[in-house]
């Protein structure tokens, strides 16, 4: 492979895989925005919490028995769902009629809360995360796609399609959209606003858990706040990029953002501009919001 390819292709591919995780987190964000006009700043940390639980179960710490990897992952996902339900019940539902900005501050509070709990459970330093699968799917020179990377792409693709189908084909999906647009009228026709909200948060918790487990796996270690710092902003950018209400948009946006970030980080030396990936993301997000707020795949309203 020539130099050009190594400088461009390698980071682009690894960025695309990383971007899929952003997309996965972004999917949860889009879901919550679509259903309740909420930005969930705790989404990444909810995923991280599930990843922590997976790691605890995997290593068998505390009161948890030592589980096999698949059981630990399953346990983590269940934790994610329960966490989503809990957040909805305790934080979001009482704020049903509050301004949306208040709800957003509350989700930031959820982030801090989870951050603190994780600190209690694990200490401030990093601990090793559960890696579902080892080995490489494909290697060629500098280019390397791990099996885990392959799974991430696969999972994101399947989930994006499934969730898009869910909204267009199922009764529950339609109900969620209806609730988001006309809560009162929806209630009048007999749809339970509470139940749809709980369902949405459960799904968002599950999506977050999957993203958290996968991302911490590629990352190797996990620490309080790590996933939020690593992935929350790119996930939001991905969601906004793809059009905050378009589910496949999160997928596309995630991949685009992952590639942009990886290219910037690998090609702009740190001593010229540290954190170049983040700066580019900030610029991209700003540009999208200013120029095309509906995102790439979103509809202009």
């Amino acid at each position: 492979m020539d130099v050009m390819a190594i400088e461009i292709v390698v980071p682009a591919v690894s960025g695309a895989v990383q971007g899929c995780v952003y997309g996965l987190l972004g999917l949860g964000l889009v879901l919550l925005y679509k259903s309740g006009r909420i930005f969930n700043f705790a989404q990444a940390e909810m995923g991280a919490f599930a990843a922590f639980m997976t790691a605890f179960a995997d290593a068998g710490s505390g009161i948890l028995p030592d589980m096999p990897v698949w059981a630990a992952v399953f346990f983590g996902m269940i934790t994610g769902i329960l966490l989503g339900l809990l957040v909805e019940r305790v934080v979001v539902r009482p704020l049903f009629s509050a301004p949306k900005v208040t709800v957003v501050v509350a989700t930031a509070g959820v982030f801090l809360f989870l951050y603190a709990i994780e600190g209690f459970l694990s200490g401030p330093g990093p601990r090793s995360a559960t890696r579902i699968i080892d080995g490489d799917l494909y290697t060629n020179g500098g280019l390397r796609i791990t099996n885990l990377g392959g799974i991430i792409v696969l999972v994101l693709g399947v989930l994006a399609v499934l969730s898009a189908l869910f909204f267009s084909r199922t009764r529950m999906g339609t109900a969620i959209i209806a609730v988001s647009q006309e809560p009162t009228a929806t209630r009048l026709v007999g749809i339970s606003v509470e139940r749809t909200a709980a369902f949405t948060w459960a799904v968002a918790g599950l999506l977050g858990a999957i993203a958290g487990i996968l991302l911490s796996g590629t990352n190797g270690v996990i620490a309080p706040g790590l996933l939020t710092g690593l992935a929350l902003v790119p996930a939001f950018t991905a969601a906004v990029f793809g059009g905050i209400t378009a589910l496949p948009g999160a997928f596309v946006g995630g991949v685009v953002i992952g590639i942009i970030e990886a290219l910037a980080a690998s090609n702009i030396p740190k001593d010229i501009m540290p954190g170049s990936g983040k700066v580019i993301l900030f610029g991209a997000l700003l540009a999208v919001l200013l120029i095309r707020p509906a995102g790439l795949l979103g509809k202009e309203t």
């Binding site: 009482p94 704020l95 501050v105 600190g119 209690f120 459970l121 200490g123 330093g125 710092g229 200013l290």
Partner: protein, 382 residues
């Protein structure tokens, strides 16, 4: 057409009755119990704690946080613009002060001006963004702004002394922590004065009006664009100056303490204190600044024992940093409880006392004019 035409005749000026007077006035005497009530607090805060070696730095922190709280309150409480990137303005101020003092040999006093200007500049930039992007998206972009600054500008080599941290040494007369507290307190008093003037002048009214309804504000002749930017600049200046104070308080500025969590903590303490209420915000900020101090080791020990011994989570008993977590824990819990159950924050809780202190008879119930609807931005007349 002009004011003279309907300048009020004498009786008109006198007639706007002040209905809520205390039924019986005891004259100056009625202030006596109030002063007696306040005296112990004044004694503790101004004399007792500052003379305590551990207490003085915490009080200084409280002042610094309170200035940030007031700064944030101008944006969130008065103008209705959510900023989750205040760590950015704060950090810029800290770095600017440290850098200009240590590297550029700028006089001590001038570093505060520079810090304020830098904070104002970045806030102005954010203000221009806020003209176009509003609501949730503004919250998002401010958050990303803070994170980006943390990872980019706060890592630049010449600013951060190659990552080792930029030193900021206090002048000799401020070495003493007690003196430094009084120094910070004077800044806080200045900030309070500006905040008070803000609400008492047309500027504050303009901000409150545009927060509620921009079209109405425009119809009243308020230049919404200019006043939004002004709010950002004012807020950024205060945050920048507070950052400079923090730089001198710690003595060395690194990016590590200026992250996302700090931004959230700022919002959190402001909301817990009570948006729109000056006293509430100051109390909320002080509470957060002193949380580590208030929760002494027995508390921490209980939690630790529970987690480690009972649930036996975590295999590294020794290095659990529970103090750091417990601040976040209590803070987050406080925020969630405030938002969900008690949106007026501390300010609402202590309203019976503050009302009594302002000279009205003591009563646990709100008077009609400042009812529950007054929770947000209530202190037009504070």
């Amino acid at each position: 057409m002009s004011a003279e035409v309907y300048a009020p005749p004498e009786e008109a000026a006198a007639s706007p009755a002040k209905p809520h007077r205390a039924p019986r006035s005891y004259g100056p005497i009625r202030w006596l119990p109030r002063i007696l009530f306040l005296l112990p607090f004044v004694y503790w805060v101004l004399w007792r704690i500052p003379n305590d070696e551990a207490g003085a730095p915490i009080l200084a922190d409280a002042c610094i946080y309170a200035i940030v709280g007031l700064s944030l309150n101008i944006l969130i409480g008065y103008t209705g613009q959510l900023s989750l990137g205040h760590n950015g303005f704060f950090g810029i101020g800290a770095f600017a002060a440290a850098y200009s003092l240590t590297v550029r040999d700028v006089p001590f006093a001038a570093t505060f001006v520079i810090a304020g200007l830098c904070g104002a500049l970045f806030a102005l930039f954010m203000g221009f963004i806020a003209l176009r992007i509003t609501g949730l998206y503004l919250a998002l972009i401010t958050l990303v702004f803070g994170l980006t600054l943390e990872e980019s500008l706060f890592e630049v080599e010449w600013l951060t002394n190659s990552g080792a941290g930029q030193p900021a040494d206090r002048p000799e007369w401020l070495f003493d922590d007690r003196n430094f507290f009084y120094f910070c307190l004077s800044f806080l008093l200045l900030a309070v004065y500006i905040d008070w003037r803000l609400l008492r002048s047309k500027t504050g009214r303009a901000l409150l009006a545009l927060k509620e309804n921009e079209r109405v504000a425009e119809a009243f002749g308020i230049n919404v664009t200019a006043f939004k930017l002004l709010a950002f600049v004012l807020s950024g200046t205060l945050a920048g100056v507070a950052g400079a104070l923090l730089a001198y308080r710690i003595g060395i500025v690194t990016a590590s303490g200026l992250g996302f969590n700090l931004a959230l903590t700022f919002v959190l303490m402001t909301v817990v204190g009570g948006l729109g209420s000056r006293l509430g915000v100051i109390l909320g900020a002080s509470l957060f600044a002193s949380l580590t101090f208030l929760l002494d080791e027995t508390w921490v020990g209980v939690v630790q024992t529970f987690l480690v011994k009972v649930l036996s989570f975590g295999n590294h008993t020794a290095e659990i940093n529970i103090e750091g977590s417990i601040v976040g824990f209590i803070g987050a819990l406080g925020l969630l409880l405030t938002i969900v159950l008690n949106p007026g924050g501390i300010a609402q809780q202590i309203r019976p006392i503050t009302r009594w202190l302002s000279g009205k008879p003591f009563s646990l119930h709100d008077d009609k004019d400042t009812g529950p609807g007054s929770v947000e931005g209530s202190s037009v007349r504070a």
